[in-house]
Subunit: 313 residues, 2 copies
């Protein structure tokens, strides 16, 4: 679809399409960042060839999920943005004629690193970067050690397919991030992710964890009347030096429509590309039918910027 | 459970229980407000006898859902708060030893009416009132004609069972209302509701509408690590003078735990009382496991008070 559009009009006066296909690359990561980049480049081409005008990669796709342990040597995995990955994926985007969302471990300065998502337009140009705002820290997800909280706020980006937003993983649990991105006019909220089961918990809690993860993201589609796309990795990763028995990433990448209905979904345990259509008319139809944005009580939401409102007096 | 507690200590030094049962009264409404009140009184007693320490009635339980058409004569259905319903239910609460949430059509002044929920403590005392903040208006739900938007904000109330919050129906689509109530320390968010299918839409859209309704409310439980209880009416109502062929209220009252798991749920088509346990230890367990409240980016949420952030510059 992206490449078909190239035939019709010069870039300078191209209006964004009213309908387009997105492709979510659910992939497993090897221990070699070069191999992961090569795989991502191939997947971008494959997704675009199958019709995707925008391709989203999973969180930190260049490496295995290193935050399973705290090791300062692993900061070597970080790279500047723009940098080698955005350059290679810029070429991939241009060849494919597709927008690419590339989540990267960003080296901003010595000792200052972010968990970021670069947005690359279909002509290969780096449009901008989102830096993960909400940073988790729980056993085997030691992200507060590695990632400085983002300082760019919640963002929407104008791309060849129109306005989209990206957040990253833990952001998915926060309705505020979804709202602030949707209010900027994003038609799709992307959530590149690295989430999985602790193997010891999978039997007892795995089903409800996956269900909560799907539910909260579907709710962002409902509350905001926009598309939501979650893009996860798959595979068991058990890095050297990790105190745990590793993580089993649960895949299940999906696309929810503006009513929260899941229109496409991947399995838990294998690589695939999830495709779904974004239809701007569907956004407007849903928002007209159940017009939530009309009735927001913006006069009464000020307390949202408080940490807590229930302290004993 | 409520009445058992009465035996142990005087009211003045009673600490709220760590665990208690709530009862949600899913009922059908007759055309006679007196009959509906009598039924509600019986249901409060019945729920308490079965162990409920808090009983929640559905939105506007004293009448059929009159907002299916606009008719100024129907303002006669409104009553003051405190008033006849809170007095009768105060006595019912005291007899039952249970907290009661009583959603009422509140007459505040001539020409000034609210869609409210009165919170009555287990000793019969009216603790306070919540006035519906988000007012819908769509075919057969002409609420903007009847209800002035609430001016008391989002609230939590200290009751014999501890701190709880109530919102009303359309509020359920707004993560902001849930967040602001939970941040005040509410352990349970109640959503008394009157929502149903347009009969002509039920086959084509009914399933996804009900699913969206359940999903957005479960998401409030997940995002905030608290219980959520939705309390709906049942039955087909087709009032005289309504331009539509009526509404089929879909019941499906449910209780979600702090992880968003539905722990009790009613059918779509008959009266029942839904019971579920509130366990404060479960709230803390869930919030420790996935500590979303810890990582909120309150420095970056200011835009929430904007109507829109995507206007063309």
């Amino acid at each position: 679809m992206g490449s078909a559009l190239v035939l019709f009009s010069p870039m300078t006066d191209r209006s964004p399409p009213k309908k387009y296909t997105i492709g979510l690359v659910q992939m497993a990561m090897s221990g070699d960042p070069a191999v992961n980049l090569e795989k991502a480049i191939v997947k971008v081409a494959e997704a675009a060839a199958a019709g995707a005008a925008l391709v989203c990669l999973p969180e930190l796709f260049r490496s295995q999920y290193f935050a399973q342990r705290e090791d300062a040597a692993l900061f070597d995995l970080a790279e500047p943005v723009p940098g080698p990955s955005t350059e290679a994926l810029g070429r991939a985007a241009q060849r494919a004629g597709a927008v690419v969302i590339a989540p990267l471990f960003e080296r901003r300065a010595p000792g200052l690193y972010h968990n970021s998502a670069a947005v690359i337009d279909a002509d290969g140009r780096l449009i901008g970067v989102y830096r993960k705002m909400h940073i988790p820290d729980d056993p085997a997800y030691y992200e507060k050690f590695y990632f400085t909280p983002g300082d760019l706020g919640f963002r929407a980006f104008d791309t060849r397919v129109g306005r989209i937003g990206t957040l990253v993983c833990w952001d998915q649990w926060y309705p505020e991030g979804a709202r602030l991105t949707a209010l900027q006019g994003a038609n799709v909220l992307f959530y590149p992710t690295a989430i999985g089961w602790h193997p010891a918990e999978k039997d007892s809690h795995g089903k409800e964890q996956l269900d909560a993860w799907r539910t909260i993201q579907r709710s962002h589609a409902i509350a905001n009347g926009c598309y939501v796309a979650a893009v996860n990795r798959v595979g068991r990763e058990r890095p050297q030096g990790a105190a745990t028995d590793g993580l089993e990433f649960w895949g299940s990448s999906f696309i929810a429509d503006p009513f929260g209905s899941v229109v496409a979904e991947a399995p838990t345990d294998r690589e695939t590309i999830v495709f779904g259509e974004v239809d701007l008319a569907r956004i407007e139809e849903v928002r007209r039918g159940w017009p939530f944005l009309r009735d927001r009580r913006i006069d009464a939401y000020g307390g949202i910027v408080s940490r807590y409102l229930g302290d004993a007096s």
